[in-house]
Amino acid sequence: MADVALRKVVKRYDDVEAVRGIDLDIADHEFIVLVGPSGCGKSTTLRMIAGLEDISDGDIMIGGDVVNDVPPKDRDIAMVFQNYALYPHMTVAENMSFGLRLKHYPKAEIKARVTEAARLLDITDLIDRKPKQLSGGQRQRVAMGRAIVRNPKVFLFDEPLSNLDAKLRVQMRIEIKKVHQKVRTTTVYVTHDQVEAMTLADRVVVMNHGRIEQIGTPNELYHKPATKFVASFIGSPAMNFIPCRLEDLAGKLHVRLTDRITFPLPPARAARYQGIPRAEKLLLGLRPEHITEAKQHTEPGVETFETVLDVTEPMGMETLIYFTMEGTLVCGRVNPNAGAHDGGPLRLAVDLNNMHLLNEVTGAVL
């Protein structure tokens, strides 16, 4: 158990900077998820913490000690790989105990730890099997077991669920969360799946182009994204971005989407956006759940408008609707009974209390 700190960590491959100066503090017992598209440097960052990649610049600290030049085996970490990386010629028990055997732990203690980890992961029956005889989910459990028996300071997970099918992934996600609740080991988890990131993490680190875009709890990232990248990456279906301008109409601040559609801003929002130049090109960020069918009584800050739908996607508990606004495809979520159908008209309501306004050029959330 230990905290982990990254200070201006840089990774350079020849001329390419894969990681461009990352600062990150991970508290003891914390579950941190690094998330981002492929090539964003998340795996490289994890591998630098593991010691599998050299650090080009900066410092990495585990438990307060700088470990830049400490070899992986002396960092007291355990890692779970995407393809499990189980030793094919060893049984499950041998796989799990390999690290302990290398360190010459007493036989009794090895057995006790393996038994305990196997019980925790519910793989007691598989202990004498070879990896070949196991299913994907079972192999992933064994890989986790191999990490747990070592009782390391930090767990590192490198896209551990990417090789599993969708159903099993959800199941294993819960398993991982359960295991973390029990062992409470500081965990750094890398994934490209934002759902995994949101569901598992105490705090999520969103990365893009080798930099950290934003660090925050899942809810912070969802409701208060700092950049357009975070806003679009977190949440499914993704947030809509509609080109817009601010306008003063009848003494009130409005947001103009098209020649015909303008919405007055709720007072709190109007106060916040008052200082923005009116000519500036902006984007209105709205999550699909804030574009719904219009109700009889509208609440303050909710504005309605008529549109013609392009496509509808019935999901059962809700229907996703798609329509075009100034050439931008916009997604909304309506009640299945709202009468939405492909090509049909629908009166929609947008909840401007949950709107975001972004600078179109910089992508910053204003």
């Binding site: 010691g51 599998l52 992986p72 890692m79 790989f81 030793y87 390999f98 290398l102």
Partner: protein
């Protein structure tokens, strides 16, 4: 086969269903035809050797049907197996081949591991260099090698030439490059995460090699071992050049030098000696064939 299929698909004919099995039947017929042809082609010489080895010298030189044994005798076998000279050749061959196999493995395995996994400056060039070495034929190398060893002998005063153990230095020049090369291929097919997992588990490079790589790559290792043994066992040019005294000879050279006296060929014993000499590799192949095939086809699919 494809021309047959096109012919049948001609517009005048009705489409014939079940052509898959017809196609397969023809494929099988052709396979059998060529396989039987190859089997006959390759098995005739050994068969001829067996026939000849069972004949007396008189019968061999008699004008009878050479493909039939009229008076079978084991005299050739008895004579060779009770001849100290022949057993000496056999012993020399065995000890040389076994030691060469061990030396080759001791060099090739760590070399292949280093070239496949430890990225260092010039490792790719070195790996290619290893293979290029193998491409230089021994008929070009034996004279410079002879000169080199003669020089070493002159400087150190240790007798190397005309001693069976000189072959322990010579044979690895043939076996090490090839074995290193196939081991590189085999090691490279082991997923990178496996050694990373071992490193994180606390294994040193040596432990990663001995406890992960060697067990996982065992089929490839056995293939390399068989190759090294076969090459050492069958090598003819080098022992012919480097050893001359009868008691220093290995089997292939021993048979040809002692059983051919001037222009008198003792065919019965030559064939018997060759057959007996072919036995050890044959036995090894028979037992390790599955491993050998698995080893040579490594990397064809992801391991």
């Amino acid at each position: 086969m494809s021309t047959l299929a096109i012919d049948k698909g001609g517009p005048r004919r009705k489409v014939k269903y079940g052509s898959m099995s017809r196609d397969r039947a023809w494929a099988l017929r052709w396979s059998y035809f060529f396989l039987v042809l190859f089997a006959i082609f390759f098995l005739t010489p050994p068969l001829y050797m067996v026939i000849t080895s069972l004949k007396s010298s008189a019968e061999i030189s008699a004008a009878t049907n050479p493909w039939w044994v009229f008076h079978p005798t084991l005299a050739n076998y008895v004579e060779l197996l009770t001849s100290n000279q022949f057993l000496r050749f056999f012993w020399n061959s065995s000890i040389v081949s076994l030691v060469v196999v061990v030396v080759t493995m001791l060099i090739s395995i760590p070399a292949a591991f280093a070239l496949a996994r430890m990225k260092f400056w010039g490792s790719t060039t070195l790996a290619t260099g290893v293979f290029l070495t193998y491409l230089v034929p021994d008929s070009l190398l034996f004279i410079p090698l002879f000169k080199m060893l003669a020089l070493v002998q002159d400087i150190t005063g240790i007798t190397l030439l005309n001693r069976w153990y000189v072959l322990l230095f010579i044979y690895p020049t043939l076996t090490v490059p090839f074995c290193t090369w196939i081991m590189i291929g085999y090691f490279a097919s082991i997923p990178k995460e496996l050694d990373e997992a071992a490193i994180i588990d606390g294994a040193s490079w040596l432990q990663t090699l001995t406890r992960i790589f060697i067990p996982v790559a065992l089929p490839g290792l056995i293939a390399a071992t068989i190759f090294a043994f076969t090459v050492s066992w069958a090598q003819f040019l080098y022992p012919l050049v480097f050893t001359t005294s009868i008691d220093q000879l290995v089997l292939p050279v021993g048979i040809t030098t002692t059983l051919i006296k001037g222009d008198v060929f003792n065919w019965g014993q030559i064939m018997t000696g060759a057959l007996l000499g072919a036995a050890p590799p044959l036995i090894i192949y028979a037992f390790l064939m599955d491993y050998y095939i698995a080893g040579l086809t490594a990397g064809a699919t992801k391991g």
